[in-house]
C-alpha cells in the first residue's frame, strides 16, 4: 500500500486560526498548523494545552467555533469521524476507543464500510498486522489483551482505511521503552510510504528522535514551530511550559531509619475477571526512603495500592506491616490511625467526590484520624463544619491550590490543583508512611514539580514514601529506590543509581531475571 503524494511542496493538511470555545473558555485559540506529505509532525504541549481539543476537531468529534481546516489546499468541513476517515485521516486514541466485550475483528469492523464481511476484515487485519510487525489475533476478545496489543488494534484499524494522515495521541505513554521502539519502526515504515503522521506527545526525547517538525501549544495557543532535531530538550521545554521548570532538589543522603512499611510474600487472587492477581509481593521501605514502583499500566498497580491502603484487606494479617503492626486484615482507617496516608490514582470518584466541596473531600480521608478535631457529639459524630473548612483552607494555602470561591466543588478544580489538594490533604497530617499511586498523572508541570518536591521533602523529614508511577522521568527524579511491577509480580528493589533506563524498561517488559548479561543480550 503506497500513497500518491499531493502536489509537491503543498501541505497535506493546514489549519488556519482554528478556535474552540467551551462556554467562554477558549480551549484552542487561533491555531495555525501545516503538515507536509510524508512527514512525522509533532504536536507538543503539556496536559491541558489544547492538544486533544485540536485533534478532536481534526477528526470531526468536536465542532470548531471559528477558523478553517484545509485538506490538500481545499477547505474541508469535518462533521464526524466517518467524514474524517473518508477524507483519509486515521486516528489512534490515547484512551483507546475499544470495546472490551467485542472481538478484535468486531472492533475493527465498527469503523469500516458495513458491506465488508467480518471474515474479510479478519483476513485483511491479519495481513496488515504481518506487514507492519503488529501481531494480532482477530478472534481474541479485547478484554483479554494487554495494553500494547490494544494499541496495535487501533493502529491496524486506522491503517485498514488506507489513510494519508495518521494521528497518534500520546501513543507511548502506556508502552515499555522496547514496545515504543517497535512502534517507531512502524511509524518510519508509514513515512516511507508517503503517509503523514501527526504525533502528539509531551515527551521531548521521543519527539527529537522521530519527528521532522514540531508545533508547540501552550494554553490553547501556538507558541512555536521548529525542527525538533535542531532543538535541545531544554529549549523545547521552554516553549512548552513558558518559564523554566524548577528542578526537584533531592538534597544529600539523609539517614535511613527503621522499616515503616513491609510486605512479605503477599499473594492476592484477582477479584474481578478484568483484574490482575498479585503474586508473591515482597517489599520494605525505611524511613527516609522513596521507593518508586515502575511499571506499564495494568500490571497490578491498582491492585497493589488497594491492598496497601486497606481498601481491600487480605487473608494473611502478617503479610502487611505498618510500623511493625500486622495490618493485612485492618481497614484503611486503622492503617491511617497508625500514621499512614494514601493517595489513589483516580482523582474523581476515588480520591475525591467531584460533586462535593473541598471541605467535604477533606473529611473523606480525615474523618477518623482527625476525629477529635473534626467531629463532636460523641456517638452522634456531628461534623464540625467550621473546623473542617478551616483545615481545607489551610491545605489550599499550603499547597497553593488555585480555585474559584471559598469552598468550591472538587470537580470545578483543574487536575493539577485538585491533585495538589489531595496530596496536601495527606501531607497536612505528616504521615509516617505515604503510599501514592501515579502522583502527577494528567497534572500540569508546575503542579507536578511542586508535588514531587513535597514527596521528596516528606521522605527527608523521616517518612517512608511509596510512589507507584508509570512516568520514568518522575521516578528517576525522586526515587531513592526503584522496583518494577510486571504481571502482578514485584521485582526486588534497587538503589536508584544502580538502574539504567534500559534495564527498567526490560523489567517492565516482564523480563524478571535481571542479570546483567541478559539485559545486554536483549539489545
Amino acid at each position: 500500500m503506497t500513497v500518491s503524494e499531493g502536489p509537491a511542496g503543498n501541505p497535506l493538511l493546514s489549519v488556519r486560526q482554528l478556535t474552540k470555545y467551551f462556554g467562554s473558555f477558549a480551549a484552542c485559540s487561533g491555531i495555525d498548523l501545516d503538515i507536509a506529505p510524508g512527514e512525522i509532525h509533532a504536536l507538543l504541549g503539556e496536559n491541558g494545552a489544547g492538544k486533544s481539543t485540536l485533534v478532536k476537531m481534526l477528526f470531526g468529534i468536536l465542532e470548531p467555533s471559528e477558523g478553517a481546516i484545509l485538506w490538500n489546499g481545499k477547505p474541508a468541513v469535518i462533521r464526524s469521524p466517518s467524514e474524517a476517515r473518508s477524507l483519509g485521516i486515521g486516528m489512534v486514541f490515547q484512551h483507546f476507543s475499544l470495546f472490551e466485550a467485542l472481538t478484535v475483528a468486531e472492533n475493527i469492523a465498527l469503523s469500516l464500510d458495513p458491506k465488508i464481511s467480518l471474515a474479510k476484515i479478519s483476513d485483511e487485519a491479519a495481513m496488515l498486522s504481518q506487514a507492519y510487525g503488529l501481531p494480532l489475533d482477530p478472534k481474541a476478545h479485547v478484554a483479554d489483551l494487554s495494553v500494547g496489543e490494544r494499541q496495535r488494534i487501533e493502529i491496524v484499524r486506522a491503517l485498514l482505511q488506507n489513510p494519508k494522515l495518521i494521528i497518534l495521541d500520546e501513543p507511548t505513554s502506556v508502552l515499555t521503552p522496547q514496545e515504543a521502539d517497535r512502534l517507531f519502526e512502524t511509524l518510519f515504515k508509514l513515512k516511507a510510504e508517503g503517509r503523514s503522521v501527526l504525533y502528539i506527545s509531551h515527551r521531548l526525547e521521543e519527539v527529537r528522535r522521530i519527528c521532522d517538525s514540531a508545533t508547540v501549544l501552550r494554553h490553547g495557543k501556538v507558541t512555536g514551530t521548529c525542527d525538533p532535531k535542531q532543538e535541545t530538550p531544554a529549549s523545547l521545554a521552554r516553549m512548552m511550559v513558558g518559564a523554566d521548570v524548577s528542578d526537584v532538589s533531592r538534597g544529600t543522603g539523609s539517614q535511613l531509619g527503621d522499616v515503616q512499611i513491609e510486605v512479605a510474600s503477599l499473594s492476592v487472587p484477582a477479584r474481578t475477571p478484568f483484574a490482575v492477581p498479585l503474586r508473591g509481593i515482597d517489599m520494605q521501605v525505611r524511613a527516609g526512603e522513596v521507593l518508586a514502583i515502575a511499571g506499564v499500566a495494568g500490571n497490578g498497580q491498582g491492585e497493589l495500592f488497594d491492598v496497601l491502603s486497606g481498601e481491600h484487606t487480605v487473608a494473611d494479617n502478617d503479610a502487611i506491616r505498618i510500623r511493625g503492626n500486622a495490618v493485612g486484615k485492618a481497614g484503611i482507617n486503622a492503617r491511617r490511625l497508625l500514621g499512614a496516608g494514601f493517595v489513589p490514582e483516580e482523582r474523581h470518584g476515588h480520591a475525591a467526590v467531584s460533586e462535593m466541596s473541598l471541605s467535604d473531600n477533606l473529611l473523606l480521608a480525615r474523618s477518623q484520624p482527625d476525629r477529635r478535631a473534626l467531629l463532636s457529639g460523641g456517638a452522634l459524630s456531628v461534623i464540625r463544619h467550621g473546623a473542617v473548612r478551616s483545615a481545607a483552607r489551610r491545605i489550599c494555602e499550603e499547597m497553593d491550590v488555585r480555585k474559584s470561591g471559598d469552598d468550591p466543588a472538587a470537580g470545578s478544580l483543574s487536575g493539577g490543583n485538585l491533585q495538589k489538594f489531595i496530596v496536601g490533604r495527606e501531607l497536612d497530617r505528616q504521615p509516617v508512611v505515604l503510599v501514592v499511586n501515579q502522583p502527577t498523572w494528567g497534572v500540569d508541570a508546575g503542579a507536578a514539580s511542586r508535588i514531587r518536591q513535597a514527596l521528596v521533602d516528606l521522605a527527608r523529614a523521616g517518612s517512608a514514601v511509596v510512589v507507584i508511577s508509570q512516568d520514568l522521568d518522575e521516578i528517576l527524579e525522586i526515587a531513592t529506590n526503584i522496583a518494577v511491577i510486571s504481571e502482578g509480580r514485584l521485582s526486588r528493589s534497587f538503589a536508584a543509581g544502580d538502574l539504567s533506563l534500559e534495564k527498567i524498561g526490560l523489567m517492565m517488559g516482564g523480563i524478571h531475571d535481571s542479570t546483567h548479561s541478559e539485559a545486554a543480550h536483549a539489545h
Binding site: 486514541f93 470495546f99 466485550a101 469503523s111 458495513p114 475477571p273
Partner: protein, 304 residues
C-alpha cells in the same frame, strides 16, 4: 390434556418473552428502562379500546404497539435528551402508565372483548400434537418466535447490531468512532416500548380478552428479571419465558385441583420464582460482570 396445558403455558409465556426481548434490545444499547410494566399496561388498554372501537383485533395489535412505542418515547426524551436518572424515570413511566391506563379503560371494564383468532398454517397445522401447539396459534405467538430469531440475528450477525452492542459496552468510544449514540438509543428504547406494547396487547386480546385494571400484574417486572436471567441473550429469553409460563400455569392448575395449599400462596409462586431465579443467576459475579452491558444505566452527554 397435556396439549391443553401446554397451550396455556405458551399463552402465558408469550407476553413475557416479547416484553423481555424488547427490554433486552434496550439494555443491549446501554439503557435501563424499568417502565416495562407501564408500557405494557398502556399497550393492553389501548389495544383493547382500539379493538372495541373498530371491531378488529388486528388494528388493536397495531394500536398497542404504537402506544407502547409512543410511551417509551417519553422515557427516551427524559433519559436521553434531558439525562434524567434512568431508574427514577422508569418508575415514573410505570406509575403514569398504571394511572393513565386506569383512566382510559374505565368505561371499558367488564365489556366482553374480541379475541385475536388463531391462524392455521396449512399442512404444518395438521401435524399431530405439535401442529395445534405451534402452527394453529395467533399472530402474536408467531411474532414472538420471529422476534427471538430476528433479534438474535440482528445482534450477532448484522453490523447495526454490532454497533448497538458497541454502544452498550462503551458509549464514549462508540461516540468517538462516529456512531450516533443518542439516535441508536432512541431507536432501541422505542423498540423496547413497541415490544412491551405488543405484549400488553396479547394480554387484553389473547390471554384474557377483556380490560381489567392493572391486568399486567407485575409481568413487566418479571420480564425485566428475565433479561437478567437470560444474561442478555435472546434464545435464553425464550427458555426463561417458557419456564415462567409453566410456573404460572402450574400454580393455576394446582389452585383448580385444590391441593390444600391456600390459593394466595400459589399465586405468589411466580414472584417467588423470580426472586429465586435472580439469586441463582446473580450469584456468580463473574458471569454477571462479563455479560452485563458495561454502560447500562449510565448517562451519556456528548461533548460538542
Amino acid at each position: 390434556m397435556l396439549e391443553a396445558i401446554l397451550l396455556t403455558v405458551i399463552t402465558a409465556a408469550t407476553p413475557l418473552v416479547i416484553a423481555a426481548l424488547g427490554e433486552l434490545v434496550t439494555e443491549r444499547s446501554g439503557v435501563l428502562n424499568l417502565g416495562v410494566e407501564g408500557m405494557m399496561i398502556m399497550g393492553a388498554v389501548v389495544a383493547f379500546v382500539a379493538t372495541q372501537t373498530t371491531g378488529s383485533p388486528y388494528i388493536g395489535v397495531v394500536a398497542g404497539i404504537t402506544a407502547g412505542a409512543a410511551f417509551s418515547l417519553l422515557f427516551g426524551f427524559l433519559t436521553l435528551t434531558l439525562v434524567a436518572n434512568q431508574v427514577a424515570t422508569g418508575l415514573a413511566l410505570t406509575i403514569l402508565g398504571l394511572g393513565l391506563s386506569g383512566q382510559i379503560g374505565e368505561s371499558y371494564v367488564g365489556q366482553p372483548g374480541i379475541k385475536l383468532q388463531p391462524i392455521n398454517i396449512p399442512i404444518l397445522g395438521d401435524i399431530p400434537f405439535l401442529g395445534p401447539l405451534l402452527f394453529r396459534q395467533d399472530l402474536i405467538f408467531y411474532l414472538s418466535i420471529a422476534l427471538v430469531i430476528g433479534i438474535h440475528w440482528f445482534l450477532f450477525r448484522s453490523r447495526t447490531g454490532l454497533k448497538m452492542r458497541a454502544i452498550g459496552d462503551n458509549h464514549s468510544s462508540a461516540h468517538a468512532l462516529g456512531i450516533n449514540v443518542i439516535r441508536t438509543r432512541y431507536l432501541a428504547v422505542m423498540f423496547g416500548g413497541a415490544c412491551s406494547g405488543l405484549a400488553g396487547a396479547q394480554l387484553s386480546l389473547v390471554y384474557t380478552p377483556q380490560w381489567v385494571e392493572n391486568m399486567a400484574a407485575g409481568r413487566g417486572w418479571i420480564a425485566l428479571a428475565l433479561v437478567v436471567f437470560a444474561s442478555w441473550r435472546p434464545l435464553r429469553v425464550l427458555a426463561g419465558g417458557y419456564l415462567f409460563g409453566a410456573v404460572t400455569i402450574g400454580q393455576l392448575h394446582a389452585q383448580a385441583f385444590g391441593i390444600g395449599i391456600p390459593s394466595q400462596f400459589l399465586s405468589a409462586l411466580p414472584y417467588v420464582a423470580t426472586i429465586v431465579v435472580l439469586i441463582i443467576i446473580s450469584h456468580n459475579r463473574r458471569t454477571t460482570l462479563i455479560n452485563t452491558p458495561a454502560s447500562l444505566g449510565k448517562p451519556f452527554v456528548p461533548e460538542r
